[in-house]
Symmetry: C2
């Protein structure tokens, strides 16, 4: 069952292949008489013609394919971003090829390689590290690309990010208003822009609110996973003077903190308040309900795709180097006023 080609339609209709090609191309159609266009369209329809994008791509050097580099599609943060991207790409007749890096540089390199072999017209990168070493290659090869959610340190590459600083500030404000003064931070990995941004914002906000944060109130996680959140929270809660609130750099770290709190026989928010970042799905169903910062995942994906398309269609015009998406505080049960002194009193006998 060979596929129907332009040549077949040409034979059938008696026109030349290139006439058929034009008749089927909305942009070139105007150069032809209506009669020809009608006949060709009818024949194409009747014969079940389906354009071969590969051949067209080979000729035009445009595949209408974009690469989407993410750490792991299994991570609830990314599917909505993907849908956002596709919501703008699909109407434009693009498809995306998604690759997972599993946060491994080796995998990132090879996966970007497969995207390039496939001739993607551009890349949306949701897994960059601040000093990503493979990005230079892309820039040198003039492959249009955008980063989402995260940004590069020294690069003019357009980035679509969330208002990390604003979100952290809001959160700090809430905690302070609730009466907290001993506020700790579980920072994200410092090789990610979100990790350093949120940590810096944490420090800045603390200072703005007149809260002093000792260094040991800042725990750096190595990965954005629950186990790391748990480890960091355990360290914080084992301090002689444990914090009354833990502001985590993301939801998964916060979920890990929940576990640590439960393990130590403590209560959230009774003994410790906890906050997150991102507002992943299902969070509202998990007690006591994580107070967090909602980021617009769909919007981020959408915007990234728009920027990328701009880059592809108008390579000369400089794009917005940076889009900062607004965030929104979501209050749930994990924040309450501190129970003054209660935590220390309770802990002293138990812990060495």
């Amino acid at each position: 069952m060979r596929a129907v080609t332009l040549k077949d339609i040409a034979r059938e209709t008696g026109f030349h292949v290139s006439t058929v090609s034009r008749a089927l191309d909305p942009r070139a159609r105007s150069a032809l008489t209506d009669e020809v266009v009608q006949k060709v369209a009818a024949a194409a329809e009747r014969m079940g013609y389906r354009p071969n994008r590969l051949a067209a791509g080979l000729r035009t050097k445009r595949t209408r394919t974009v690469g989407l580099v993410i750490p792991d599609i299994t991570n609830a943060l990314f599917p909505p971003i993907v849908r956002g991207v596709e919501s703008v790409l699909e109407p434009l007749d693009y498809v995306s090829i998604i690759v997972n890096t599993d946060s491994s540089r080796d995998r990132e390199r090879s996966q970007i390689g497969v995207l390039l072999e496939r001739g993607v017209d551009g890349i949306i990168h949701a897994a960059v590290e601040r000093d990503d070493p493979f990005i230079g290659d892309l820039e040198r090869q003039k492959v249009p690309f955008v980063t989402v959610n995260r940004a590069l340190d020294h690069s003019a590459a357009p980035a679509v990010v969330n208002d990390d600083a604003g979100g952290i500030r809001e959160m700090m404000k809430l905690l302070v208003e609730q009466g907290h003064r001993e506020i700790a931070h579980i920072a994200g990995p410092q090789r990610l822009s979100t990790g350093v941004e949120r940590l810096a914002a944490f420090r800045a906000a603390a200072e703005a609110f007149g809260i002093s944060v000792p260094e040991y109130y800042i725990q750096r996680s190595d990965l954005l996973v629950e186990t790391e959140g748990r480890r960091c929270a355990e360290a914080l809660l084992s301090l002689n003077r444990p914090p009354t609130a833990i502001l985590a750099a993301n939801d998964r770290l916060a979920l890990g903190a929940f576990e640590a709190i439960a393990d130590l026989g403590l209560d959230c928010p009774g003994d410790v308040s906890v906050t997150g970042f991102n507002d992943n799905e299902f969070l509202r169903l998990i007690p006591p309900g994580l107070t967090t910062v909602r980021v617009d995942k769909l919007g981020a994906g959408r915007r990234a795709a728009e920027v990328l398309i701009g880059l592809i269609d108008h390579p000369e015009t400089a794009p917005d180097p940076r889009t900062v998406l607004p965030v929104e505080l979501v209050r749930r049960g994990s924040v309450a006023p501190p129970r003054t002194g209660a935590l220390e009193a309770q802990k002293r006998p138990g812990v060495a």
Copy 2:
């Protein structure tokens, strides 16, 4: 910055393009002297050669691309299936193009169309309905394809499914052992194979355990979403003789039942036990912990990819028409023995 082609390497090394092509092709390499292979490989490396898969695909009619049709990547069931698929595809140098149907037939048709235009070597379909009308076309065009998770009604197409019947039976056994006799079912949409399979299994298991199930204990959902689960559960709990256990056809329906139970001021598992199917992530964190049937999502994706590759590489040999993956009961807090008579006593005064 034009990409390096075989021709460039040929000019550089003095060999002919086809010699270069062979030197770079592991299968054809053996026909060349080591010296040539070495030189070509070195030049390719040095010049940063990257094969153009489009051109190769145009020539060979093999794109090493598969299409992955899913309802919605945002649905937690699918990312692990996707990873499973890619875990076998990636080492074979394939990529996948994922399309979301949003359970719409129009979208499904057009999305399958874009996959075909892209010349995918095969399709893994995780969104089929029992009488899917577009599948006939695929079979006629001899496009290799497999269904995952769901199956077609009248088709020889290979399917990778879970042991729905076994899972339901196990679940029924558990409920009966716990002392339940009034067991209701929130069935999945009957246009999906899982919907009818699980309903049939529910009836069969009930009979096997000597449980009689009145028709009004079976509520059919229209979509596999929480709101539908809630609607169905409300209907069941508003009966004069409400069930003591609700066996839902999937986790999301069960989560909806949780909501309905809470809304009615009832307690799970105190007043009603609830069970699900699939074992989506994060379920363990949602109280009281859904007792459910764990399906091997990664394994399903993996198996589907293996079957598809078999179909692609050996079109003549008939594949296993059906792979049934084992499932596992996961006990959590949502099932407890019925509080005999308590529910009725409590409800009578309140509900008409």
